[in-house]
Amino acid sequence: MKRKMLMAAVTAIVLCATLPVGAQAAAPLAGQTITVLLPPWATLPKDMTDRFTRQTGIKLSLQTLGWDEIRTKIITASIAGSPPADVTEVDWSWVGQFGSSGWYAPLNATVDGATARDLPATAIFTYDKKLIGIPYNNDFRLLIFNRQHLGTAGIAQPPKTLADLLADAKTIKEKGVVKFPIALPLSATEGTATAWYLLTKAFGGDLFDNNLKPLFTSPDSAGYKALAWEIDALKAGLIDPASTGLKDVEVQELFKNGQASFDVAGWAGNLSVYTDASKSKVASVAEGALMPTVSGKTRTFGLPEAVGIPAASTHKEAAEAFIHWFVAPENQMESYTALGNLPTRTSVLKSLDDSGKLASGKALLAQAAVVEPLFKQGTPTWYPQFSSAVSTAINQAAKGQLTVDAAIKQIAAQAAEAQEQ
């Protein structure tokens, strides 16, 4: 009896001692408010954010800014040592700069092996072995086409090679289906550069070798041919000349309005937007297809987006709770349905396809299987400077101010300059 009494007393003491600890571990998160800074396409609907607050007790202050403005806000706040928000967008192209600056808290410890395997894009967000963002948007590029336009022009199947793509576009134009069949941005913006990277891969090449030396300078290189292809298509009247002033999102409007037949560098997640009748005029005829290449064997590259926690955040635990909730399978599924963010979890993609909710699921999954990183070594710190040089030179070439050769030389020179700094 005495022994039982002693055990009960010890248990009670242990329980009493541990109770406050447990309460402290759970309680601080409830009632906290965290700021979340995301672009418009990731701004969650209110019913989702309300559910997060109900489940965790953490209040969300959701801030929406343009993609470029988010980057500026992160930089200005971080250089001043203050957090831009508790959770922010982290684009694949910022990883080099933000990773080397140490502005983001490492998240390695918060992701277990199984989750990491289900989220293959985490590798792209790892800088110097530190995971600075957990991917939420599985952006990669594929061909999106208007089935009705092809049918009217007598074309049965989407093109498999770049030569077929040009020939089909010419046929569509000649038959008067649309004036400018190819939607491709040519302004001095990031979307112009990423389209060229994709076409470089489609021509069977890469931008840089393993030592980051340019591979696009020779006239028989893929990058050179890709730029020449763009300028030829523009000169042939297959691309709207106004594209020299259009961003990628504005070019997508042309496709959504039925003014273009091919969205050549289509965003994978955009298929759900294009096929949504409330957002698109071509909902019933927009389809995805594998990216055409010169060889006929498809290629593409990934441009995923992640969410990360700035090192200066004062609510890191609550921010972690939000990130894990955000990339949870059921929320990725809902985010895809509501916003068109293609899930980064392989299991969710498969589940969406099995349930028939993935628009052009067959093409998407086949394309997803061949997604390559743009930089095998990880995104370099000089990427934004290089990307700006690319889009500026392509914009000048499209306006007739530079020849293809001069534009390529300019890109190579500025790439070398960016690498030296």
Binding site: I75, S78, S101, W103, A188, P241, A242, G245, K399
Partner: protein
């Protein structure tokens, strides 16, 4: 008469109150000036000095340390083709803006000065573009210049001046002029208001005297109006120059970072916030500040010399 006034003012009070003496009036004067000195010190002169100092270092968050590099940033700026391109664009904006704003602002001010009925309504209408945020102005003009559905193409095509829609920003000179026009549209009202205030301070008797001496409208304008509004004109020219040097929103919204229309402040933004080369961007912003100050100083000193008669 002027000399008498000057001598009577300088004779007794200055002798009685030597510069070393601090009476209550001086303390009061200092008290009035102190807040603006403190505010300017913290918000203007302090940051300027820090920027100047940092521009002589390598400030790059991606690299460890901030070593002193002397004038290297400035030397590199002289060799940077994009920077030189941006300088050319900015100088073009300054010339377009200063000429058009001054001529247009003066014409608007003269017109407003003549009108007696409904002047306040007209003044309100003229000031409206200046009252709108620059981003809103630029977005309105972006729609006007749009190659697919823009008003400009629509008007020119309906009047038969062009046969097909034109992509305005594909030609560099046109693009520079169109961006400058948006800036002029926004800033011209300020010049007009400054000059209108100067015009309204001219006594009507001077024009009557000029007429009696046989001066026509042009002679009255050149011999009476222009000299007497030269102070206002110097302020208007200075603000036009400074604002043209600081042109950012219009170029950014209408044509992004395109090299054709990229002003030097967009180049500063790209160097500092895109490439994360902060001290390089700071060095460029220091040069912009000095260029802007230098040109403004020329106006001010010239007008000061021309309007001092003592």
């Amino acid at each position: 008469m002027t000399s008498e006034v000057v001598s009577s003012e300088t004779a007794s009070p200055v002798k009685a109150d030597t510069p070393r003496t601090f009476n209550s009036d001086r303390w009061l004067g200092l008290a009035f000036v102190a807040p603006i000195v403190v505010v300017m010190g913290f918000l203007v002169f302090g940051p300027v000095l820090v920027t100047l100092w940092d521009s002589l270092h390598r400030v790059d968050p991606m690299r460890l340390g901030t070593p002193f590099i002397g004038l290297e940033n400035y030397r590199n700026l002289m060799r940077d083709a994009s920077v030189l391109h941006a300088w050319f664009n900015t100088m073009a904006y300054v010339i377009f803006a200063v000429v058009l704003e001054t001529a247009g602002g003066l014409a608007a001010a003269l017109l407003l000065n003549k009108i007696t009925w409904g002047r306040r309504w007209l003044l309100a209408a003229v000031v409206l573009p200046w009252a709108l945020p620059p981003v809103v102005n630029a977005i309105v003009w972006m729609w006007i210049y749009n190659p697919s559905y823009g008003l400009l193409n629509g008007i020119l095509q309906s009047t038969g001046l062009i046969s097909s829609y034109h992509v305005w920003f594909n030609d560099r000179t046109t693009a520079l002029l169109l961006v400058a026009l948006v800036h002029v549209w926004r800033m011209l009202p300020l010049t007009a208001v400054i000059l209108l205030a100067a015009l309204q301070s001219i006594p009507a008797e001077l024009y009557q005297a000029a007429r009696l001496d046989g001066a026509g409208p042009f002679r009255s304008f050149s011999k009476v109006t222009l000299p007497l509004i030269s102070g206002g004109l110097a302020i208007a020219l200075s603000q036009s120059t400074v604002f043209a040097f600081n042109l950012f929103d219009e170029a950014w919204i209408l044509n992004g970072s395109s090299l054709d229309t990229r002003p030097v402040l967009v180049q500063v933004y790209m160097s500092a916030f895109q490439n994360l080369r902060f001290s390089y961007g700071m060095a460029l912003s220091v040069l912009v500040m000095f260029a802007s100050l230098l040109i403004s100083l020329v106006y001010v000193l010239r007008v000061y010399r021309e309007t001092r008669y003592d």
